[in-house]
Symmetry: C2
Subunit: 206 residues, 2 copies
């Protein structure tokens, strides 16, 4: 049995969707980040980084979205969520997810998480002003060079798709017009229609 610690509105949505798509046997545990539950002594014992998501497995605890997504794909191979027998194709999947975590998510985080990297209010305001541009540039690159269509890696739905969908849900709040990104917008719409995505969103709201 797997247990996913998440908070609604965060990147944990990607792993949650992947678990549902994989047909995994899992439960979720919602953290209240406004109450700072991610920094409670109990949670820090599980994940000393004080972040979500955390995946508790029979073997121990996993963190970091790209690692968890690949783990889910490898643990449930019948769901075909990654090209597991092709190191190059698998690396393309991983490169996409790594770009999302290390560049796109980081660009987005400068809107509300400036205190991770600075101390002054004027700095936070400066960072915030640039988010539409930086996140917009990331998504322009995704639109132009990375999203093969209909799914991120082409015909086969993979662990890249729930992760892109998750980060694209932040676009409106980041001041980026998804309508100007037709491939991303189409991907987003088709993702929202998937039963696994609808179930997961309902479970996170419940």
């Amino acid at each position: 049995m797997l247990k996913l610690y998440l908070a609604p509105g965060t990147c944990a949505l990607a792993s949650h969707i992947a678990l549902a798509e994989a047909g995994a046997d899992y439960t979720i545990e919602k953290l209240d980040m406004k109450a700072n539950q991610q920094n409670s002594p109990e949670y820090l014992k599980l994940n000393p980084k004080g972040r979500v998501p955390t995946l508790v497995t029979d073997r121990g605890v996993l963190t970091e979205t790209p690692a968890m997504l690949a783990f889910i794909a490898q643990t449930f191979p019948k769901a075909k969520l990654a090209p597991l027998d092709d190191a190059f194709a698998f690396a393309q999947v991983q490169a996409f997810n790594s770009y999302l975590c290390s560049t796109v998510h980081v660009a987005h985080a400068h809107k509300l998480r400036g205190a991770r990297w600075a101390t002054e209010e004027t700095t936070f305001a400066d960072m915030k002003r640039m988010v539409p541009k930086t996140v917009g540039a990331c998504f322009a690159l995704i639109e132009r060079d990375m999203l093969k269509g209909p799914w991120v890696m082409g015909e086969q739905y993979t662990i890249c798709d729930p992760y892109l969908y998750t980060i694209a849900t932040w676009l409106e709040g980041d001041g980026v017009d998804i309508a100007a990104l037709p491939k991303v917008a189409d991907h987003h719409k088709r993702m929202a229609e998937r039963p696994a995505v609808q179930k997961v969103l309902a479970d996170q709201k419940a």
Copy 2:
């Protein structure tokens, strides 16, 4: 034949060491980042992100350090650079590398790459002041909870080791005293003694 595009002093060192440890047949191509070669039209055709490293393979181009490291481990299984037959252990390797790319490298980048996320000189100065603290906190966590010893994952040397070594070479410049991190310091010293690391450092200087 593999070809690695790199620039000395960057995180490309991790993949370079991994290729050498794997016994791969590869060549390197050095970019002059002071001359902005990473944004030349020729290079942007290979890697539209304008970053290093880029790995050119017979199948196409790969980017993003964690993806390239896992690719090298999977392509050269005899080198045993990752636990390829154990999804959980592989995910632990990936989680470590994902933390390095999305949190530790990002904390470091606020020293000199503030223009990625802001525009004002006062912002850059604020970001720069916080680097010793943020990078120091990341490495305190690595020291306390993540580096099992003697290698990152314990007895087996993996693709986590050259990546940690690479980022730890930035500690002095980031204002973090490696001597206060005995396990990291010991790891760094033993990495520097490895023939593959010495060869790669010499090749990058040549």
